[in-house]
Amino acid sequence: MALLECRNLTKRFGALVAVDDVTLDIQEGEIHAVIGPNGAGKSTFFNLVTGMLSPTAGTVRFAGEDITGLPAQVIAQRGIARTFQLTHLMPGLTARENVRLAAQARDPARWHILGGSQVLARASEAADRALERLHISQHAESLASALSHGDQRLLEIAMALAQDARLLMLDEPTQGWSIEETDRAVEILRGVLAGGGVTVMLVEHDMEVVFKLADKIAVLHQGRIIADDKPEVVRADKVVQDAYLGGFD
């Protein structure tokens, strides 16, 4: 059984069919990229899985349970962590506080109105570990708003890691990065993901990144999946080349 099973997912906005009958499986432990040109429906698809949008038709099952149309916070509680295409942080909190908030999200004692210092201590430790893994420990005390754009992206990934989720969904993690930053980030990401045990769905624009990181690649084109296979197979696919890769590679 796949960890995430999307069946015939469809999202219509009026006359526009943003996501059209998408069926996709993500197996436990794999890094599965979803690529496609602008407007292919990547972000909409992403939002359908994470509960930011409700599908017009189709189902999403996670770890064997139907999560179609559940609110975002419930899906997060089930064990899906996400990052946003445009960085979403708590700008007025420090980097550590940002990650700590992510780490305490699934602590059973998180509702403690008074005290709860052991919840914060646990979360703080988890936060420091996540910052370490993303190589941004040196910024732990800085406000998130004071970090460079690249470090902010890494911070958001650290938050997703700290949620201790079974499925990590990264929405264009290298978006807005310079070439040098991207190289560094891909190395860091590869280090984090190589640790194993983590399943990743990666929406990405940058082909270099995708071919370096992904075990499998699904190609979205005009809301439809036109290929879903190993990177070398997708790269050789005639249809994909016509639709997409030709213009970029």
């Binding site: 916070q73 708590m90 506080e97």
Partner: protein, 333 residues
């Protein structure tokens, strides 16, 4: 609580305890009222400063607390020390449906909904005259002694001490609340609610919870006011009071708890003293408005920000500019 905060609290309590010894008798009442207003402002700070839930209708909490305490003391044979917490609980209970409705929205619509509820209560006071006394309000509220024959808090000085103790306890409660895991979630909602929800927090429940808590504490302030004044009037629900307390939170320094206490207490005291002078009485709204504008322009962090700025400069004379605090939020819409 940090040792430094504890020391500050003890000093504040010591100063408060000494007040009856140094103040002329006629000022005890107004100082007591000022402290009650400080408690009221602090309760609003939980919403405005810590969760960025701007309420234009916090007078609803004050009025509910005052009327609940007044009606209990007038109609039931219970001691004042029981009526006050009971009024707080009643305010909190009534706040649940109000919070449920208001937290369906956020931003300006949230502010308007809180205002609407306060005005609805204001109108209800006129509507249900038999119950609420209408425009006359409720007069003749007793500070009934007990339990166990305790009558210390019924005296002028005793009531000041009662307010001081309640204010100190409420401050400790709020300080713990904002530093708890729950308080961290409030900070997350303040900074970026969409992200906080994506992390797995049911942000609406948290917003509802803090509205109810803030109303209950505001109700506690109102419940302390009614026996002090001896009456409750519909003005306690009026939008003017809501606006005043919001301004005091901002002038005192939102998100600091102590700032709004100082701001609320200071302004109420100042208003009372200046209003007693001929000619100045008419000028008071202009003075008040000018101070508000000056704070917004020159000290957006409020009085608390000015004070911590001084402390910062004095403790680190050669400190480099703190660039981190002046940055704008990046990409977080």
């Amino acid at each position: 609580m940090q040792p430094r905060e504890l020391i500050g609290l003890l000093i504040a309590l010591g100063v408060g305890a000494a007040l009856p010894l140094v103040l002329p008798v006629y000022m005890i009442g107004i100082v007591t009222e000022a402290l009650i207003f400080g408690l009221f402002a602090m309760s609003l700070d939980l919403m405005v400063g810590y969760t960025r839930l701007e309420s234009f209708g916090h007078a609803a909490a004050y009025g509910l607390g005052a009327y609940a305490a007044a009606l209990i003391l007038l109609n039931l044979d219970v001691p004042m020390l029981a009526a006050i917490p009971a009024a707080m609980l009643i305010t909190g209970l009534i706040a649940i449906p109000i919070a449920w409705v208001c937290t369906r929205s956020s931003g300006v619509s949230f502010a308007m909904l809180t205002l609407a509820f306060a005005q609805l209560l204001y109108a209800s006071v006129y509507q249900f005259k038999d119950f609420s006394g209408g425009s006359d309000g409720i007069a003749g509220i007793q500070r009934r002694a007990g339990p166990f024959g305790i009558d210390f808090f019924q005296t002028r000085n005793g009531y000041l001490y009662l307010v001081l103790i309640v204010l100190a306890l409420a401050y400790v409660f709020c300080r713990h609340l904002v530093t708890s895991p729950f308080g961290q979630v409030l900070a997350g909602i303040r900074e970026n609610e969409v992200k906080t929800r994506a992390l797995g927090y049911n942000t609406r429940s948290y917003r509802m919870a803090i509205v109810v808590i803030a109303y209950a504490l505001g109700g506690l302030a109102g419940a302390l006011y009614a026996p002090l004044a001896g009456f409750a009037s519909p003005e306690l629900f009026f939008w003017r009071l809501s606006g005043m307390v919001l301004i005091m939170v901002i002038v005192g320094g939102r998100g600091t708890l102590a700032g709004p206490i100082l701001g609320g207490a200071f302004f109420l005291f100042l208003e009372h003293e200046l209003s007693a002078l001929p000619y100045v009485r008419e000028l008071w709204p202009i003075i008040f408005g000018s101070i508000f504008i000056a704070v917004i322009l020159f000290a957006p962090q409020g009085l608390a920000g000015i004070i911590s700025g001084w402390r910062h400069r004095n403790s680190q004379p050669a400190a480099a500019d703190d660039t981190s605090s002046a940055e704008t939020p990046h990409g977080a819409a």
